[in-house]
């Protein structure tokens, strides 16, 4: 991944600020609670939801098991349909490929469909460095871009903004990029959407190059699939002459038929709709090779690795590659709701981000080492995941990697990680606790010692204990442990 987010503070520090920001808390609470109930209703409509979920999981697992074969099949199909396939091992290579393709057209601006993959690699920054302006056209991405901000949600990158903040951003910023916002722009979402429509239309009508991602790629046919709502996707995918799609290698599915699963589970999990307003499917340049004036005359597919094959190498962690980016796990996550997306220090926030970022980027930075701990393991994310990613299981697995070290694959090479820095005291404490707990005699003595000191119950503890007593009283220590009560009442236990 790019360095955009490196140097971020660890999750707990970043979250502290968010927790204290009342406006942000209210924005997040309102938005996530709005979507939660709707999603539950949309899912409950399908009596076979659990079977669709199991099938979706199986399709993804099967594909990952034979990913080499399906990527080659995809490449052949896309090529046969008039497209060009490129392979990018990492972010730098993907950015070089896309920048080169844009420069070769002679154009200096591109319109973009919301794409997690291009955010992940920092494509906009790379294009800008090459003198190419990249215009985000998804409404939320536009809000983020105009606000000089960072995305904080997978589906709704501007979820941290409320309507009044969005109005202010449109009023001050739109004019610098193109058509200004109407004079008397109010904060009604309809008015805001209308302002975005007018602002972006002139960009759509003149754009010659578009950049997208894709939700799915079909190996057998070479078909690319993009789900969206606003129509900005259709604008980018069908009007410009050149279309460049940057897609993670894990987005391939074997057959056109497999879409019948995901086209049912993704919209319901994502926007809580039976179906999103627009889905575009295209196969290379189409039967006419672009000669009918319907769609681009050049199509480039950039297949992106950037840590995915390393993730695939981990038996437990690889299930994160099933993710279809619906964001249901964010919307139900109580930690995300309080901490906000920025605290995760990655374009992938929330529960899925907490397991994806430390695998794609490794656990060497402070933020990445803290992400597996950014969860209470409550399991709400696993429950709603439409491809049954056991996020708590992967979080625990990654905690082990941070605390204990162990085998991991980086850049295709299997290495053994040492325990992360900063866990030395904790490791010693865990070991001491284990030794005590593994010796019932010592444990009993310890509990008696604790009972004798019970009147000393301090209101604030020093050191790491402060984290508890800053906001909470300590539990009262009883006069007698359970095992002492048992012995007194029942004699020595066997």
């Amino acid at each position: 991944m790019t360095g955009t987010h490196l140097g971020m503070p660890a999750f707990p520090e970043a979250a502290r600020e968010a927790v204290r920001d009342g406006v942000l808390r209210a924005n997040l609470r309102h938005a996530t609670h709005t979507i939660r109930d709707k999603r539950a209703r949309a899912v409950a409509e399908l009596a076979d939801w659990d079977r669709l979920r199991a099938a979706g999981k199986a399709v993804k697992d099967h594909t990952l098991r034979h990913l080499d074969r399906y990527l080659l099949q995809l490449e052949a199909a896309v090529t046969a349909a008039g497209g060009t396939v490129h392979w990018a091992a990492d972010a730098d290579e993907a950015n070089r490929i896309v920048t080169g393709l844009v420069l070769a057209t002679g154009e200096r601006e591109v319109v973009k469909v919301k794409s997690m993959a291009t955010q992940e690699i920092g494509l906009n920054e790379a294009l800008e460095a090459a003198g190419i302006a990249a215009y985000e056209t998804d409404l939320a991405e536009l809000i983020v871009q105009l606000g000089h901000d960072r995305p904080s949600h997978i589906l709704v990158p501007a979820i941290h903004r409320n309507r009044a903040e969005i109005r202010d951003i449109f009023r001050t910023e739109m004019g610098r990029w193109g058509r200004p916002a109407p004079e008397a722009l109010g904060d009604d979402p309809r008015e805001l959407a209308e302002a975005a429509r007018l602002h972006l239309r002139e960009k759509f009508l003149r754009a010659k190059v578009a950049v997208s991602g894709a939700n799915f790629m079909v190996a057998e046919t070479g078909t690319m699939v993009v789900l969206e709502s606003e129509g900005n996707g259709r604008m980018c995918l069908t009007l410009p002459e050149t279309l460049i799609s940057v897609v993670g290698v894990e987005k391939v599915v074997p057959t056109f038929r497999d879409l019948e699963i995901f086209l049912q589970t993704l919209p319901r999990s994502s926007t809580a709709e039976r179906m999103n307003p627009y889905t575009t499917m295209w196969t290379g340049l189409g039967p006419s090779r672009g000669a009918d004036g319907d769609g681009p005359t050049a199509f480039h597919l950039v297949l992106l690795d950037n840590g995915r094959t390393d993730t695939l190498a981990d038996e437990v962690g690889r299930q994160a590659l099933r993710c279809i980016r619906c964001s249901a796990c964010l919307n139900v996550c109580p930690v995300y709701e309080r901490a906000g997306g920025h605290a995760y220090g990655s374009v992938y926030p929330g529960p899925i981000g907490a397991i994806l970022s430390p695998q794609l980027r490794g656990t060497s930075s402070e933020i990445d080492a803290s992400l597996p701990y950014a969860s209470t393991l409550c399991g709400a994310c696993y429950e709603v995941c439409p491809v049954a990613i056991d996020i708590p299981e992967v979080l625990l697995h990654l905690r082990e990697r941070v605390a204990q070290g162990g085998p991991v694959t980086r850049d295709g090479i299997r290495v053994t990680l040492r325990p992360a820095h900063g866990h030395t005291a904790e490791r010693a404490a865990m070991r001491a606790a284990r030794l005590l707990l593994d010796h019932p005699g010592a444990l009993r003595a310890g509990m008696r010692l604790l009972a004798r000191a019970r009147r000393l119950r301090p209101r604030r503890l020093p050191g790491p204990g402060r984290a508890w007593t800053d906001t909470r009283e300590l539990p009262a220590v009883p006069a007698e442990s359970f095992r002492d009560w048992w012995t007194r009442e029942r004699g020595n236990p066997q």
Binding site: A54, P267, P277, T280
Partner: protein, 212 residues
């Protein structure tokens, strides 16, 4: 070594020896049992829920209905793709603009409405699917004008479910799935209809002669 070779080699090392996975296909092909008339009703209800305006007509009623819908909107220029039955728009009081390959995007932007057929419609999700076939034209003509009127032949173009829809579609054709007018949930995760695509979608369920 190319990146292609490097990525493929990494995948082979990473996935080798993993368990084989069978894909269970025991999910439903259709949710519930319906008569064709009930399926059409479900399509209408689901389209309407996402703010499409749904109308019903037989062949005789279609002509005046189309004329009325376009007049009510005040449409002066109406785009018609090749292959759309000429009689459908016989009574339309507006300039009919054929979909020409040479027409520029800005010309399309000056058009008020577009009338098309479709490849099929999906009742369970309230979706119409266009595949650029006869009577549908290029993808951009149902995108740039602000008003789209789509005619669905009932019952032969209506399927119940997404699995049934995919079975009937040709993946090599450009496919556009449309469920209501364009919308966004990007402001406070609240749904608002009407962004870049047509803000008004009229769907006419065209009943075959003698079907009702």
């Amino acid at each position: 070594m190319t990146s292609r070779d490097r990525i493929l080699a990494r995948i082979r090392r990473a996935a080798a020896g993993g368990p084989e996975v069978d894909i269970p296909r025991d999910y439903l092909r259709v949710h519930g049992a319906r008569t064709p008339a009930q399926t059409a009703d479900l399509l209408a209800a689901n389209l309407a829920e996402y703010r499409a305006r749904v109308h019903r007509a037989d062949e005789g009623g279609l002509v005046p209905l189309l004329a009325r819908l376009l007049a009510a909107r005040g449409s002066r220029q109406v785009l018609v793709p090749a292959g759309l039955p000429v009689r459908w728009t016989a009574d339309v009081d507006a300039t009919l603009v054929p979909d020409r390959q040479t027409s520029t995007i800005r010309e399309l932007d000056g058009v008020d409405s577009v009338v098309t057929g479709c490849a099929l419609a999906v009742a369970e999700t309230g979706t119409i699917v266009l595949d650029a076939g006869p009577g549908q034209g290029r993808r951009r003509i149902t995108l740039i004008p602000d008003h789209h009127v789509c005619v669905v032949r009932v019952p032969d173009q209506v399927v119940d479910s997404v699995p049934q829809a995919l079975e009937r579609l040709d993946p090599t054709r450009p496919l556009t799935w449309i469920s209501g007018p364009s919308a966004t949930s990007d402001i406070e995760l609240d749904r608002v209809e009407g962004v870049h695509g047509p803000r008004a979608l009229d769907v006419i369920l065209l009943t075959a002669p003698g079907a009702q």
